[in-house]
């Protein structure tokens, strides 16, 4: 149910053909193919015998009578169902067939049902009748039976009995009931007049609820399995049929429980989702289809969400808007909101990943809007959901990655409202640039000066050239050891973690198309329209390079970056063409722009302890600053943290909870021998390590703007309004680029300590932002000549400091060039393996010149290819992952000899730190090329006209 699938539900609701039910319905064995006169005679014959029973004064309790009636009825209805009316001569209304005519004049069905009801409907007869009617409606393709009250009313009477609180519908008959209802709806979809008749006929027949069919179906909305699917399909048919019928729509909205049941049902289903997502690789950061297909509660939820999406798509506006209201107020606010604010990290991770999945799955604009409104505007304990999500970016590795993934999804929507709240409103007043620089906002990088600047930041130590042949030989040996990828072997040993780069970078295109199963051919691994799960530049060639040589030339692959930047920018400009304003520093005018919210004055999770979180993450290797040590030793839950208690409660709670968990794990694991990376990583926090050189050089970065320097005052409108929840103790005019930029830059500045995967996600998001054509944003990120206010950090400054750190690191590690080369080779090799796996996937041309594309046939697809059997898929997944792990291990030892095997935590920690730094260097260089290419492409992109203008 991904966006790209764009399911038109109706097309899928293929009424079951007559063939599909032989053997299940009441045995139709009569002489159905005989000529009409004979059929009529046979029918009359049966009817005579039945009516003899029916006309007895006392309702018979004899089972003989019942059997007789049933047998005859079976035969009669079969005849009726099979009857073909004569062709109408002059094109007038087709005349009824003789049997139907008899049924109508004698009111046969009504009398039958009445008889059953009079004698007391046992579940056996009830079931038989349900099946009979289902057969009748399903099979009578020839005559519109339901349009005759002589058929419709007895049917409603039967259904009324099923809705009767005393009688009800026995559990065993639910399947029959839903099937019958489904048939009625299918038939109604073909003959819209039936809906009207049902609606009109109903009050007389059933009193209170006048759309009985509907109220019978609603309880099955969230059911598991086929019955739930049939009910939802049937309801959708009603929705479709009622889309143009105001009265019915009004009834559904005002008199039925449809919308509340749907919305609150989602809440119930959500509450049964796993609170903790069992995570596999250390690069996991988002739920892909293959992740959730095996989790039944999630499948159930997704089915219902998909159903909501479909209802929103086809229902009458009245129903739609009511449903959206209920979803907002009955699911998002009361359930999603608190779930996102749960205190345990696992729950935060899970709920964030769920929200991300939901956003990627919703395809209807108005439903998406409901979600976005919730995220942007709803306040939970004073903070918007967005605020909360933003603080998570600075947290530990996994939560950070999941949050980044969610933001990537948000950015991929190219939604003005989202961008306004995240970034643009902070840039609108233009207080971040010097007054004299405001004109420069719209200037594009005509002569490649910015591009040049970005490229100049590629550290000297990374400008290696291709390996000499001798070195390559040596590398061959290395590969031999690590397991050289071979195509023939059933499960080729995959090299290492970085080979998951592909898997990682790739978007969750969730390979399942409409047909469900995974792509059978490699070419389909990128679904034809892979919906919003694709941000504008997810396909950009991230951070990987030429596969021609075993090594990356520092300046290789630039052409690919240009090409992908062009595409990314074009797609983004196209998507933004209907925004309300160009955001070019003049429109909207900086002077009328409402001052954005000021920076939070104290936010413990973000500002005070940024380094704490990086402790846990992929080997940051930092020693906790003293303040944190104190916290580690404190009893959790003590309200020690400074900051306004107003609105920060949840965060503090979360923080202390996290600390507690951290402590526990540390104690537990600290004793065990740390053989694995992961363990090593966590041990870091317990070990007292010598503060490292770099950490001394670089105090924990505080992702907040520096204090105002005084001379910035007066350049910009004084801050008048502000969120009352926040104390206004900062100078009003202090420029602030918003929490998103601040946290992204802080994280970026810390690149050297981030894990490979965090860095890939992070740089991907910045690149995604840099695709946006709005001059305010473009100039902020890409115009390297722009002069900002002293308190505003620019991207180029941040990158400059990363460059210095990399160079310092390289200077202190004499084997840096060798390590760098190996890391590069590793990433390249990863790409090659992927290509080798699917030779048909891409034109050769590409394969040879760009490892950039390596991410496409990824591990995920390899797994998906086996999805015919779920167990096989799981098995395949496990196998593949095992290889990745093994590979990771061997890379680790190969890259950093001696460090790993020793069993020394110190050394392992150090090795991890080195590994992160080396990978960081690779990613950093590629990122710079990507930014340079984006800067160049912006200068040659033409804007798209507003879509309305274009239509003229």
């Amino acid at each position: 149910m991904e966006r790209d699938k764009n399911p038109h539900w109706l097309s899928r609701l293929n009424p079951r053909g007559p063939g599909s039910r032989t053997g299940r319905s009441a045995a139709p064995s009569g002489p159905c193919t005989a000529d009409p006169e004979t059929c009529l005679m046979v029918f009359e014959n049966h009817w005579r015998q039945v009516s003899w029973v029916l006309e007895q004064q006392e309702p018979s309790s004899s089972s003989d009578d019942l059997t007789a009636v049933r047998n005859h009825t079976d035969q009669m209805l079969c005849l009726l169902a099979e009857e073909r009316p004569a062709e109408s001569a002059e094109g007038g209304a087709a005349p009824m067939g003789p049997i139907l005519e008899l049924v109508v004049t004698e009111n046969i069905l009504e009398r039958l049902v009445q008889w059953h009801l009079r004698r007391g409907l046992d579940s056996d007869s009830q079931g038989a009748l349900l099946k009979l009617f289902e057969m009748l409606i399903g099979q009578s393709q020839q005559q519109p039976l339901l349009q005759h009250t002589a058929v419709l009313h007895p049917l409603l009477r039967l259904l009324g009995a099923c809705a009767d609180p005393d009688l009800g519908c026995p559990l065993a008959l639910e399947n029959s009931l839903v099937l019958l209802l489904n048939q009625i709806c299918v038939s109604m979809a073909r003959q819209p007049v039936v809906l009207e008749m049902l609606f009109r006929a109903a009050p007389a027949q059933q009193g209170s609820t006048n759309l009985l069919i509907f109220s019978l179906l609603v309880p099955f909305i969230h059911r598991d399995g086929a019955i739930g699917q049939q009910a939802r399909d049937a309801l959708l048919l009603v929705m479709a049929a009622s889309a143009s019928n105001e009265a019915v729509a009004r009834y559904i909205a005002e008199n039925s429980y449809f919308c509340p049941v749907l919305a609150t049902g989602l809440s119930a289903l959500y509450s049964s989702l796993p609170r903790k997502i069992e995570v596999r690789g250390d690069d996991w950061h988002a739920l892909r289809r293959e992740d959730w297909m095996s989790v039944s509660s999630l499948v159930l939820f997704m089915n219902s969400l998909e159903f909501c999406n479909a209802v929103v798509q086809i229902a009458h506006p009245l129903v739609r808007s009511q449903l959206l209201d209920y979803l907002h107020n009955g699911f998002l606010v009361p359930v999603m909101g608190p779930a996102l604010h749960k205190s345990s990290v696992d729950e935060m991770i899970a709920s964030t990943a769920y929200l991300d999945l939901f956003l990627r799955s919703v395809s209807e604009t108005s439903l998406l809007k409901t979600f976005l409104r919730f995220i942007l505007l709803h306040r939970h304990d004073n903070d918007t959901i967005l605020d909360t999500l933003l603080t998570r970016i600075s947290s530990n590795s996994r939560l950070c990655m999941v949050s980044l993934s969610l933001f990537r999804t948000l950015l991929s929507l190219n939604c003005e409202d989202v961008m306004l709240q995240l970034v643009l409103r902070y840039l609108l007043p233009c207080t971040h640039v010097m007054l004299s620089q405001r004109q420069a906002i719209r200037v594009t990088d005509l002569y490649g000066k910015s591009a040049d600047k970005f490229l100049s930041l590629i550290p000297e130590c990374c400008r290696l050239n291709a390996a000499s042949s001798a070195e390559r030989d040596e590398d061959g040996a290395f590969w031999g050891k690590g397991g050289h990828p071979s195509i023939e072997s059933p499960a080729p040993p995959r090299p290492s973690t970085p080979s998951r780069l592909a898997f990682f970078i790739r978007q969750q295109s969730s390979g399942g198309g409409p047909g469900g199963g995974g792509p059978s051919t490699p070419t389909s691994t990128e679904p034809p329209q892979s919906g919003a799960s694709h941000p504008p530049c997810p396909d950009s060639p991230m951070h990987q390079q030429l596969a021609n040589t075993e090594c990356l030339d520092w300046d290789s692959g630039y052409l690919e970056y240009l090409k992908d930047s062009r595409q990314g920018i074009e797609i983004c400009s196209w998507a933004c063409r209907d925004w309300s304003a160009p955001y070019d520093g003049e429109n909207p005018s900086p002077n009328v722009a409402a001052p954005p919210p000021p920076p939070p004055t104290s936010n413990p999770t973000m500002a005070m302890f940024p380094e704490h979180f990086s402790l846990q993450q992929g080997g940051s290797g930092s020693t906790p600053p003293p303040g944190q040590q104190r916290l580690l030793e404190q009893a959790p839950g003590e309200p020690q943290l400074p900051g306004d208690s107003n609105g920060q409660g949840i965060s503090i709670e979360a923080f202390t909870q996290e600390l507690r968990e951290l402590e526990d794990r540390v104690r537990e694991r600290g004793r065990a021998a740390c053989q694995q990376e992961e363990t090593a990583r966590e041990c870091l926090s317990s070990e007292r390590r010598q503060p490292q050189q770099e950490e001394e050089q670089q105090p924990p970065s505080v992702p907040e703007p520096k204090p105002p320097t005084g001379d910035t005052k007066g350049d910009g409108p004084a801050l008048v309004f502000g969120s009352p929840a926040r104390p206004l103790n900062k100078p009003a005019s202090q420029p602030y680029t918003g929490p998103f930029m601040v946290v992204l830059f802080a994280k970026l500045e810390n690149m050297l300590q981030n894990s490979l995967y965090v860095n890939i996600l992070l740089t991907g998001i910045v690149a995604q932002l840099a695709c946006y054509p709005q001059p305010l944003l473009r100039s902020f990120l890409l115009n390297t000549n722009m002069v900002f206010q002293p308190s505003v950090k620019s991207l180029i400054q941040v990158l400059g400091s990363v460059k210095n750190r990399i160079e310092a690191f390289a200077a202190s590690h004499e084997d840096f060039p060798a390590m760098l080369k190996k890391a590069q080779q590793y990433l390249v090799a990863r790409g090659k393996v992927d290509w080798a796996d699917s030779p048909a996937a891409v034109p050769n041309l590409r394969r040879s010149d760009s490892l950039v594309k390596s991410r496409k046939p990824s591990l995920g697809e390899l797994i998906l290819r086996h999805t015919n059997s779920p167990t096989r898929a799981r098995h395949a997944a496990q196998l593949a992952l095992a290889h990745v792990r093994d590979g990771g291990q061997s890379l680790h030892s190969a890259l950093f000899k001696g460090g790993a095997g020793a069993g020394s935590l110190e050394k392992q920690a150090e090795a991890l730190r080195v590994k992160n730094a080396v990978y960081c260097a690779v990613v950093f260089c590629e990122f710079l090329k990507e930014l340079a290419a984006l800067a160049q492409e912006h200068a040659v992109t033409l804007p798209f006209p507003h879509s309305q203008e274009a239509e003229e």
Binding site: R3, D4, S321, D325, H328, N329, V333, S363, T365, L368, K369, L372, R373, L376, L377, H378, S412, L413, N414, C415, E416, D417, V418, L420, R425, L428, T444, L446, Y447, G448, A451, D452, L455, S456, E526, Q529, S530, G531, A532, H534, D555, Y558, K563, E570, I571, W574, A575, D578, W579, S580, A581, A593, A594, A932, Q936, A939, V940, L942, P945, A950
Partner: protein
């Protein structure tokens, strides 16, 4: 007209020229262009796959490896992109009656044609070539040479070169752009300037005997137009050439030009939900366009 003529030109399968709507009846293109650019792509022979457009020696002799970039290997990209950016600016300017197209062989050479719609030179269709110095944007101003020396005080009667330098005494990067040169080339036909002429005869006549000047101009326009269907002077697949209107070829091309809508080049992202906006213009508030917010 929403249709940007430059884009529609490129949208055209064949590479070329059409006149303005009022003038289109007579002539149009004939040569098939090399199947080089994908439909709807920009015209600058885009990427130096091997940096060919820049470094390949061409007949003009103006080409030399770029001395521009600090990072040598990116140098070609900078020059190419600077020119592409200039071309983008030309498109954005929507200069009336002026069409240009970079050459296939070199991004430093642009072919152009200008249509004069009123004034002394009315009905003139003048083809020209722009030569951009290879140290652009730090060098001299570009040269503009008419294929046929049109009778004009500022046009060299032998070489056909327009005196551009008088308008751009010093070429200043960031301030001067190629579209301004094109604009200038158009202006001279509407506002005659006779000081320091390249064609003294024309200048003198204009001052002394306007009638004779006018008739010479008419002759010159006739001459130019009579050579309209000649083979292009430059042997380049992207050179502008005209041919008599041939419905079999041109109707369809015209139709496509008028119906063409530029879309991003995304093969696999067709129907994604994106580009949403609920911001009421001027409000700068999210969801301000909304009429019926859910009550929470």
């Amino acid at each position: 007209m929403n249709l940007n003529p430059f884009w529609s030109m490129s949208a055209n399968t064949s590479r070329k020229q059409r006149t303005d709507s009022e003038e289109q009846s007579g002539h149009s293109e004939q040569r098939a262009s090399p199947a080089r650019l994908p439909f709807g792509k920009k015209q600058l022979p885009p990427i130096p796959k091997n940096a060919a457009p820049i470094t390949k020696p061409a007949s003009t002799g103006t080409l030399a490896p770029s001395a521009n970039g600090t990072h040598a290997s990116y140098g070609p990209f900078y020059l190419e992109y600077s020119l592409l950016a200039e071309f983008t600016l030309v498109i954005k300017q929507k200069l009336p009656g002026i069409y240009v197209q970079p050459s296939y062989k070199s991004a430093l050479m642009w072919f152009g044609v200008i249509f004069i719609r009123h004034g002394l030179y009315q009905d003139g269709v003048f083809k020209f070539t722009v030569y951009i110095p290879d140290n652009y944007p730090d060098g001299e101003c570009p040269k503009l040479v008419f294929d046929i020396p049109v009778f004009h005080p500022l046009v060299d009667p032998v070489s056909g070169e327009l005196d551009v330098r008088r308008a751009f005494t010093k070429w200043r990067r960031n301030h001067n752009h190629i579209w301004q040169v094109l604009m200038y080339a158009r202006t001279i036909f509407y506002k005659i300037n006779t000081t320091e002429p390249l064609n003294p005869e024309a200048a003198v006549l204009y001052e002394k005997d306007v009638q004779l000047f006018k008739s010479k101009v008419v002759d010159s326009v006739k001459l130019c137009n009579s050579h309209l269907f000649d083979q292009p002077k430059m042997d380049d697949p992207y050179a502008i050439s005209f041919s008599p209107w041939n419905p079999a070829v041109h109707e369809e091309a015209k139709e496509r030009m008028f119906t063409y809508k530029r879309r991003p080049d995304d093969h696999h992202k067709g129907t994604q939900v994106s580009g949403l906006s609920w911001v009421k213009p001027g409000s700068m508030q999210p969801f301000s366009k909304d009429d019926s917010p859910p009550q929470s």
